[in-house]
């Protein structure tokens, strides 16, 4: 018992450490944004328009095959942009349970979604998985999966700064852009601090901690982590003020729409329109 608890706590810690390290490396290092792929070569404004159209199509579509088609289209875009497919698919679906499992799983059952029973889990009281329940859950998963894929793809192939610049050029309200910018810094500091803490702990620990100790450490360090990254982001804000920031960051941009940008925007719009039509 204690042993398996220990293993679980160990696994939780390993997973947390891996997740933070991988986000820090993959998103914040912006390595993918430098690859000579298709999306990387596009004007960020074009990309934002493309992805908005595609996200709209995903949220409007009421047909499973069409949703599947849109998801496959995101894989095609990823492949054209030299984003390793295995990495991409795994990233999206690994986190999916966190996002949707909580909503999708109850939808399977008869008391939430009435329909023809597919699988009887319990006869008294009657608990069955229904066909419509499965459909609802599948829709939900696929819809969120496809949306998250599109979003991740945009972020992976566009330097964050360029994304914020493009949003401000596209006249998205400054408050929104500022919030996004601060969120990014905050999350970065949070992850960075978390990674440092995992490392600091690793370097101090001799032998294994028991599972109660493990849980206590995780709980205590999460609290410390939040307050530390809050202090840090407050200091970051001061550092911005100190250098003349007056509520709205001025940015330099050298965006230029080329034929390729128009072309891909048109392709994405066409895909979105067809998907919306077919998925009515």
């Amino acid at each position: 018992m204690a042993k398996s608890n220990n293993a679980i706590a160990g696994a939780v810690e390993r997973t947390l450490a891996e997740v933070t390290a991988s986000i820090e490396n993959n998103i914040f290092a912006e390595e993918m944004t430098h690859k000579p792929g298709m999306l990387q070569g596009l004007d960020p404004r074009a990309k934002i328009l493309m992805f908005l159209a595609l996200l709209l199509a995903i949220s409007l579509s009421r047909s499973l095959p069409v949703l599947l088609g849109l998801y496959i289209f995101s894989l095609l875009l990823a492949w054209l942009s030299q984003v390793p497919l295995g990495f991409f698919i795994k990233r999206v679906w690994l986190f999916m349970p966190f996002f949707t499992g909580i909503i999708a799983i109850p939808a399977l059952f008869s008391f939430i979604t009435p329909g023809n029973p597919l699988l009887v889990l319990w006869s008294n009281p009657l608990l069955v998985i229904t066909d419509r329940g499965v459909m609802t859950a599948a829709f939900l998963l696929l819809r969120v999966g496809a949306s998250v894929s599109m979003g991740i793809l945009l972020v992976l192939t566009t330097p964050w700064n360029a994304l914020l610049k493009a949003l401000s050029v596209l006249r998205v309200p400054k408050v929104f852009i500022l919030t996004l910018g601060m969120t990014y810094r905050y999350i970065y500091l949070l992850l960075h601090t978390a990674n440092d803490m995992f490392l600091a702990r690793k370097s101090r620990i001799v032998g294994r901690m028991d599972s109660a100790g493990e849980r206590r450490w995780i709980a205590a360090s999460m609290g410390g982590l939040l307050s530390r990254s809050f202090d840090l982001s407050n200091d970051v804000y001061l550092a911005m003020l100190s250098r003349g920031y007056r509520g709205e960051a001025r940015v330099a941009h050298t965006f230029a729409f080329t034929t390729r940008d128009w072309l891909w925007t048109a392709v994405a719009l066409a895909v979105a329109v067809v998907a919306i039509y077919l998925g009515r």
Partner: protein, 279 residues
């Protein structure tokens, strides 16, 4: 001293500040800073050096007492006024103790361009200032790197470049030499001296007695009660051993000599191997 004839940049009067309304970070601090001088703020950990610099940079505000910049009292209302803030931020710059908080942009270029962009300079002028700052610190090769992935010394240089591109007259440096290797440290001292020869005012917070002589003419010493304990020239302060021990800048410890007798000494920590025995 010569300070008498110079313009007074900052008048700090009986300033009290606490982050949490319980523990004081500054407890009635008074001093003046003159144009063109090199001042060091000396104090042990937690004595309030960083806090004072943040107040002088108009990031926090005195809860009692006041700070006047060129005769004008710094308040949060004043710093919210566009034209005052513009002139003040342009003239006064703080290099933070922790480079990580100062570096928030995705690339070194963006980091160094941040301040000139906030001044609404023309793109060509921004480009020129960034190039000059990167060149001046010999870090042009880092321009496309992510600041948070650099080494500590490189980060410090980028942090300094990000302020240099603003061309401030007044530099507030918070422990600039901490964590730098000897070569970077001596480079930084040269940099400070060069800025000073150009007419800049340099205020440096430090607890490094070693570099004092190179970066300061005048020293103020904070004690652990978050007050100013003493003020004087570098020579005066360094020769006051009792003061340094009292303010926890030098300490007493035991060690063995070759004759196997235990000696107890006051130690001034100067350099890695050179100790000054005080008794």
């Amino acid at each position: 001293m010569t300070g008498m004839q110079r313009e007074t940049l900052f008048e700090i009067e009986q300033v009290v500040f606490s982050y949490d309304q319980k523990n004081l970070a500054l407890n009635g601090v008074s001093l003046e800073i003159f144009a063109g001088e090199r001042l060091a703020i000396l104090g042990s950990n937690g004595s309030g050096k960083s806090t004072l610099l943040k107040l002088m940079d108009g990031l926090y505000f005195a809860q009692q007492g006041e700070i006047r910049y060129r005769g004008t009292r710094l308040t949060s209302e004043l710093l919210n006024q566009e034209n005052f803030a513009f002139g003040f931020r342009r003239a006064v710059s703080l290099v933070f103790q922790d480079s990580d908080v100062q570096l928030f942009s995705p690339s070194v270029w963006d980091e160094v361009a941040f301040a000139p962009l906030q001044l609404d300079l023309a793109p060509a002028e921004v480009e020129a200032r960034v190039a000059e700052a990167l060149g001046g610190l010999n870090i042009t090769t880092l321009r496309d790197r992510a600041p948070h992935r650099l080494s500590g010394g490189e980060k410090k240089k980028v942090a300094i470049a990000s302020v240099l591109s603003l061309r401030p007259e007044i530099w507030l440096l918070d422990e600039p030499t901490a964590g730098l290797d000897p070569r970077s440290q001596s480079w930084l001292i040269d940099f400070i001296q060069e800025r000073w020869r150009q007419g800049n005012t340099i205020v440096t917070a430090t607890h490094d007695l070693d570099v004092l002589d190179d970066i300061a003419d005048r020293v103020i010493v904070f004690n652990e009660m978050h007050r100013v304990e003493a003020m004087g020239t570098v020579a005066e302060i360094l020769s006051d051993e009792e003061l340094l021990v009292r303010c926890n800048l030098a300490h007493r410890h035991r060690h063995y000599h070759f004759d196997d007798v235990v000696h107890e000494h006051h130690h001034l920590h100067q350099g890695e191997h050179q100790h000054t025995h005080l008794e």
